[in-house]
Symmetry: C2
Subunit: 109 residues, 2 copies
DNA sequence: CAACATTATCGTAATATTGCAATATTAAAA
DNA sequence: TTTTAATATTGCAATATTACGATAATGTTG
C-alpha cells in the first residue's frame, strides 16, 4: 500500500486531482504567483527569486508542466515558461461549478 | 531533506497551498463530489460509496476538515459532514483573480 | 446492560514527494 | 573551439502520504 488507488476513481476525478495536486505546494504556488507578478514569461531569473536550489526548482517546473499548468518554450539556451490560461480556467470553472451547486442547497451543518 | 520548506514562503502561499493540496487526491475529490451529488450532508453512507476502507476514508475526511474544506457536526453516533462554502469560494476567488490578471497580458509563449 | 453501528485512532508497510549535490546537456559568447 | 550560462537529469537521503487491519471510543437500540 501507500500508492494512490487511481483505478478506483473516474478519469475526470483523477485528472482534476493531478492538476490540483500540482498546485498543492507553496513553491509551486510561488512560481505561479511570480509568473503573474512579472507579467511575462520566466526566462531565467526564477532561480534567483525563489529560496530553493536550481535542481529543485527545475523539478517543480517540470511538475507544473506535466500537469498542464505552465507551458515552456525553448528560447536559445534559456527556457521561457508561462502560465497556461486554459488550465487556470479549468480550475476556475471547477470551483465555480461547485459554488453554484452549493448555492441552492440547505446544508444541515 | 524531504520536508517542504514552508518557512521560505509567505503565510498566504502556505495556507492556499495547504487548502489546494487537500483537494489534490482523487479520493478527496470524490468525497467532495459525492457531498455535492447527494445535495446534503454525509451521515454515514460515504464508506459504502467509495472504494476504500473505512479507516482510509476517515483519514481523508480528517484532512479535508483540517484544511477547512468540510465541516463536521456530531449527530448522535453518526457524524454529519458537509462542504464549507467559504473555502470553496476562497479557491474560486484565487483562480478567478489569476484568470483576471492573465487577461491583460501578452504572453510570449 | 449487551449487542450493534458508526467513526476515530494506532501501528505499520508500501510508495511518493521534497530537496540538493553532482553531473550532464545545450546553446550562446568569447 | 573553449568558456560560460541556463536548464535538466541522476542519485540519494529525509520526510510525507496512502492504505488498511486491528482496536478503541462513543452513542444507540434491543
Amino acid at each position: 500500500m501507500g500508492a494512490t488507488k487511481s483505478q478506483h476513481f473516474t478519469d475526470k476525478q483523477n485528472s482534476i486531482a493531478v492538476m490540483i495536486k500540482a498546485l498543492g505546494h507553496p513553491a509551486r504556488i510561488a512560481i505561479i504567483e511570480y509568473l503573474i507578478k512579472v507579467d511575462s514569461c520566466i526566462c531565467g531569473d526564477i532561480v534567483n527569486e525563489l529560496p530553493l536550489a536550481q535542481p529543485t526548482i527545475s523539478q517543480h517546473l517540470k511538475e507544473l508542466k506535466n500537469a498542464g499548468l505552465i507551458k515552456g518554450n525553448i528560447n536559445g539556451n534559456a527556457i521561457c515558461y508561462c502560465i497556461d490560461e486554459k488550465a487556470i480556467q479549468k480550475l476556475q470553472n471547477y470551483f465555480g461549478n461547485i459554488s453554484k451547486k452549493l448555492e441552492n442547497k440547505n446544508n444541515c451543518c
